[in-house]
Structure formats: structure tokens, C-alpha cells
Amino acid sequence: MAEASGIETIKAVVEAKKSLPGALLPILHDIQDALGHVPSEAVPVIAAALNLSRAEVHGVISYYHHFRQHPAGHHVLRVCRAEACQSLGSEALADHAKATLGCDFHETTADGSFTLEPAYCLGQCACGPAMLIDDSEVHARLTPEKFDAIVAAKRGAE
């Protein structure tokens, strides 16, 4: 997705948002939404525009779980592992997800289709276990079978 247009996108986002009060998080969100991650070449551009040091910008990117510094798979699966989902077996579901996908949390499948991330509450606490896909699609009352069906459907759609 990124490649050649990456730096142009970064510059455009920075230009559009730099005058907002407390602009750094909105800028990082827009860059990640557009490019799938916040590439290292974004750091000096942002730092210059916001009159921050590169260390400060890097510090913010690495502090927040949401921002990623490297590209993710085609789909990002965030499986909730907070207490309410635990009470309905989210740990077993996470183990199933890891085994099926062949990757651990914070890792991407060998074919680049999925990145598995833990989430700490998706607000679906009455209907756990829950999962958020690509920061837009929520699933609740998951079982290993439902998980497999969702993953298969995503693979089929590609």
C-alpha cells in the first residue's frame, strides 16, 4: 500500500493537521489509517513540522499499543483477552487462534494474511469472547468454529 506514495501521504497528512492543538496523535492516526503503519521516514517530517525532537515523536509512536512501526498483514485481528471475555473462555479461543494461524500475538501469518493482536476490552462484555477486525468489524460470542469461519471467509474474499 505504502511504497512510492508513502512520503507524499505523510507530508499531506502533516500539512493538514499540524496546526491542531495537540496534533501528534491525530497525525499518527491518519498516517496509520492511510499506510497501515507509521513508517520511520514519517518521524523527521512530523518532528520538523511540530517543532519536536525525533526522539519525542518516536517515544509517542512506541508508547501507544495502537501504533505499529512495521506493516501488518492484510487483516488485523484483535482478540479480546480482558476479564469479561476470559470468563467466557477467551483464553482457549486465543490459543485456538494462535494454533490455527500459526502465529503468536503481535505476529503475522506466514502468508501475510493476518496479524494477531490482543485487545483489552472491545466493549462487548455481555457477549464475549469478542474480536475486532481491521478496526472496523466486531464479532461477539465467538467459538473456535465461528473464528475459523470468519478467517476462511476473509481468505476467500482475497
Binding site: 496523535l25 499518527l28 470468563s87 466493549g123 462484555c125 455481555a126 457477549c127 460470542r141
Partner: protein, 517 residues
């Protein structure tokens, strides 16, 4: 004749297939040549029935649920638009006991209106609070909120009116209202529901707060895990601005209030108010030392009112109907209602807004119906990941801030996570420390280091390595975290840990007789 059918757009309903249900209803109606208008409402909060489809009738709305896309053809076959005969029919929605036995003040509109329709909002008592506020002085507004007895619904239960008064009295030409919508606690979804299902209520509450304290700018700090809430807020803010409810000249009053939703980035500790301010300023979410209070030196160094979503959402009704109306509900120093959230392993999970006063047991059994798994309830964590685990012997505690504090627990925001008797409480205690280690901002040592040492100590207890010594060490560590941490992250992690240890020692390998000794 057009028949209106309601299919929720709340994210829990979506997570259970509401989108495909709505699509199936539209296409099946078209195929049969029926005139159906599908409205996407919020959720009633009866989540075990989602997707809950409602049909408007002269007798009120008739509920069907839980409906899957595969049920839609049979619903039409049974003429569900006019006949309450299908097996999924639940009768009139308002008569469902779970809903009927509630006292919905803040959630009065939720599930009824189309959340993004300002006309719907106006038709259901919307903006009456703001209109009342515009005819009052700031001091009068603050007095009404003080008199209502409203206390911070985010968990700390600090009187909202006192906070507002401090900001009103603070010197400065720029002040802010910040809504803490970083609802990161497991077992809570009431903030999410307000944002997704009745966003104008939050906007109105913040506008009143702005006028009350003299702030012309507000921010809503929303979790990145809540994409639907963020989208709904942005949509509603745009509508409110276009129609003169936000902006430079609110309803021609000459008063200004500008509002912006800001997306968080997945740091739990940013639910702590000073860490949230740092994050809004574009920094790492590191907790600030207090004092100074944010009410004096807050966002960008200016006086700032920080309230939780539910606190701000309660304000419009208080202004519209008066302080006494709200204050007359509740018990002791806990006035008004609290939207309790029944979560985890519970049969009838959902939102239960009632006045303070009943017992925890009534919530768990009368509303909740026991566990989802059908086993016995063993423990309930109330008030989020930093709240205590309560055993059966405490289920008769009254739902009241002070009553919970008296038994060493926290009522907090009223989120309940239920566990059945298969739970391993030592594991839950370990998780509490692990979560603290993961999410600690790192500024203070008790939290940053204590949490990591806490995981290790619990592991040694469970493994039986010098158990009595390690238990002593764990208690000592918890004492240090409780007294020495800068904020609730490290300061309250001992609540789940010690409550698990005290009430369920057998899970830590401690013989029950040793507990008595």
C-alpha cells in the same frame, strides 16, 4: 401503509449479525412488495436478545429476538409486521420485565431513537436541558448540578458540581471541557452505548458544562477500540454544528462552544485523567502528579473540567427537570441512577439502569439470571480491572458507593464481570498484576516495578515455593503499591489481587484452616 421496523446499529448488535438481518429484511420486503421502512436504532441493552428487531404497531413496539438473517424469511412467512405469533416474538418491548423493572433516566432514549437523527432527539426531550441552561447564569447551572447530588460516574464518584465550581472560579480566559471516553475497563459498555446510541445527549451535556464553567472548547477522548462510537460522535457533532447547537453562537445566545472527538491509541492508563490530558496534548500518556488539579491547571495548562461520559450524559436531564428530580432517586450519598453493566459469564447480560439501593444479588440473579454456563457464580469483579473480586458472602452488599467501600470493594462505574465456579482466582490475581505491568505508564516505581515483581511472587505462591513467606511478601508489596503509587493504576491493582487472596485462598494453595489462623 409503511410499517417501520427497527434493527439496532449498536456495535454489540452488529457483532451478532444485525447488519445482515437489516439487509435481509429490506430485500425480503422488496421481494414481497411490502412497504417497510427500516430504522437503525440504538440497542435497548438486552444483549442476550440481540439482534433485537422491533416492529412499530399502534400498541407500541413489538419485539422479536434474537433474530438471525436466516430467521427473516420465516418472520415474513408468519406476517410478523402485523401478527405477534412468530416463535421469536417477545411481545411489547416495554413489557419485557428486564426493561420494565429499570428506571431509565440517562438511557431513556437509548434503543428508541435513531441515534444520528437530531429530529428524533428533539422529539424525545432533547436539548431542553441546554435551553434551560441558556436562561441561567453559570453559577446557577453549577448550583443545580451540585444540588442534584451527581457524582462522577467514571468510578471515583467525586461530586460533579464541586468540580465545576472549581473551574468556574479558576482564573483564565481559556478553559476546557474534556470528556473521558476512554472506557478501557473490562465489563463496561455504558459509555460506548451513550456514544453510539444517543450521542447528542453527550454533546448537550458537554455544551451545558462549557456554558456552566465558561469554557468554549471541548474534547471527547474516545478509545481506538470503539470505531463505531467515534464515527457516531463525529456524525452527531457535524449535525449539531450545522444546526446551531454547537459553534460560535449557540441557538443565538451569543455563547460559543466547539467540540471535537479525539481518538486514543490503546493505552489503558490514558483513562487516568492526567495521562489523558498528556495524550490529548500529543505526548506519551504519562500520569501527572497532583496537585495541581486539572480543574486549575489542566489541558494545555488551562482550567479544565474532566468528566466521564455518563456524568455528562446525566446533565441534560438534570437541567431539564431540575435537581430535585434526580436527587430524589437513590440512597444515602449515592443519588440518582447508575447504569449497571452485567457482563462476563452471565445469562442475561446487558445494561440495567436503576437507582442506587438494591443489592448486588438482585442484579446478579433477578436481572442477570445467574451464569451463562449454568454453573454457580463464584466471584464477581465489580468496578473494572482495578476493582475487587467479591465472593458469594458479599452479594448482599447494597449498591451504594459507601457500602461497597465498607467491605473493601469498589462500585466504580457499575460494571460487573461474573465468573462461574470453574474460575481459578490465583490466575485472575496474576492477570491483574500482569495487566498492570503491561499498561503501567512507568512514571512511579511501585506500579512499574511492583507489578512485575507481583507476577513473580504469585507464580512462586502457586508453585508452593516458600509459600507463607511469599504471601507475606505479596501483602507487603500490595501495601507499597496501594500507598505509594501516583495514580489508581498501581494504587488499585492490589484490590483484585488481595480480594482474590483473601476470599479464595484455596486457589493459591493455601489451606482454608491456615487462612483462619
Amino acid at each position: 401503509m409503511t410499517i417501520t421496523v427497527f434493527v439496532p446499529r449498536d456495535s454489540t448488535a452488529l457483532a451478532l449479525g444485525a447488519e445482515s438481518v437489516a439487509a435481509a429484511i429490506v430485500s425480503e420486503a422488496a421481494r414481497r412488495g411490502l412497504d417497510v421502512n427500516v430504522v437503525r436504532n440504538g440497542s435497548r441493552g438486552l444483549f442476550w436478545l440481540e439482534p433485537l428487531v422491533e416492529v412499530a404497531s399502534p400498541q407500541g413496539r413489538i419485539a422479536f429476538g434474537p433474530v438471525t438473517a436466516a430467521d427473516v424469511a420465516s418472520l415474513f412467512e408468519a406476517e410478523f409486521l402485523t401478527k405477534p405469533t412468530h416463535a421469536l416474538c417477545l411481545g411489547p418491548t416495554e413489557e419485557i420485565p428486564y426493561l420494565k423493572q429499570q428506571q431509565r433516566l440517562t438511557f431513556a432514549r437509548v434503543g428508541i431513537i435513531d441515534p444520528l437523527s437530531i429530529d428524533d432527539y428533539l422529539a424525545h426531550e432533547g436539548y431542553l436541558g441546554l435551553k434551560a441552561a441558556l436562561s441561567l447564569t453559570p453559577a446557577q447551572i453549577v448550583q443545580i448540578v451540585t444540588d442534584s447530588g451527581l457524582r462522577g460516574r467514571g468510578g471515583a464518584a467525586f461530586p460533579t458540581g464541586i468540580k465545576w465550581k472549581t473551574v468556574l472560579g479558576a482564573a483564565g480566559d481559556q478553559k476546557y471541557v474534556v470528556c473521558n471516553a476512554d472506557e478501557g475497563d473490562s465489563g463496561t459498555f455504558s459509555d460506548r452505548m451513550v456514544m453510539e446510541d444517543d450521542p447528542f445527549m453527550l454533546i448537550e451535556g458537554m455544551t451545558i458544562a462549557g456554558i456552566g464553567v465558561g469554557a468554549d472548547r471541548g474534547y471527547i477522548y474516545v478509545r481506538s477500540e470503539y470505531p463505531h462510537a467515534f464515527a457516531a460522535l463525529n456524525d452527531a457533532i457535524a449535525t449539531a454544528t450545522a444546526q446551531g447547537y454547537l459553534g460560535d453562537n449557540i441557538l443565538g445566545s451569543g455563547k460559543a462552544f466547539h467540540l471535537e472527538a479525539r481518538k486514543a491509541a490503546g493505552a489503558y492508563v490514558c483513562g487516568e485523567e492526567t495521562a489523558m490530558l498528556e495524550s490529548l496534548e500529543g505526548k506519551r500518556g504519562i500520569v501527572r502528579a497532583k496537585p495541581p488539579l486539572p480543574a486549575i491547571i489542566g489541558l494545555f495548562g488551562k482550567p479544565t473540567v474532566i468528566n466521564n461520559v455518563i456524568s455528562l450524559a446525566a446533565v441534560p436531564l438534570i437541567l431539564a427537570r431540575g435537581a430535585a428530580f434526580y436527587r430524589d432517586c437513590g440512597i444515602g450519598r449515592s443519588r440518582g441512577t447508575l447504569p449497571f453493566q452485567l457482563a462476563g459469564n452471565i445469562r442475561y447480560g446487558g445494561l440495567v439502569e436503576i437507582a442506587f439501593g438494591p443489592t448486588l444479588r438482585q442484579l446478579l440473579y433477578d436481572f442477570g439470571g445467574g451464569t451463562h454456563s449454568g454453573r454457580n457464580i463464584r466471584a464477581v469483579q465489580v468496578g473494572g480491572p482495578l476493582g475487587a473480586y467479591m465472593p458469594e458472602s458479599q452479594f448482599d452488599t447494597i449498591l451504594d458507593y459507601e457500602a461497597f467501600a465498607a467491605v473493601g470493594a469498589v462500585l466504580g462505574h457499575g460494571g460487573l464481570v461474573v465468573f462461574d465456579d470453574s474460575v481459578d482466582m490465583a490466575k485472575q490475581a496474576r492477570y491483574a498484576m500482569e495487566f498492570c505491568a503491561l499498561e503501567s505508564c512507568g512514571k512511579c516505581t511501585p506500579c512499574r516495578i511492583g507489578s512485575t515483581r507481583g507476577v513473580e511472587v504469585i507464580d512462586r505462591i502457586v508453585a508452593g515455593k516458600e509459600r507463607p513467606k511469599q504471601v507475606h511478601l505479596l501483602r507487603d508489596l500490595c501495601d507499597t503499591m496501594l500507598s505509594g503509587s501516583l495514580c489508581a493504576m498501581g494504587g488499585m491493582t492490589p484490590y483484585p489481587v488481595l480480594s482474590a487472596l483473601n476470599h479464595f485462598p484455596e486457589d493459591f494453595g493455601i489451606a482454608v484452616e491456615a487462612k483462619a489462623a
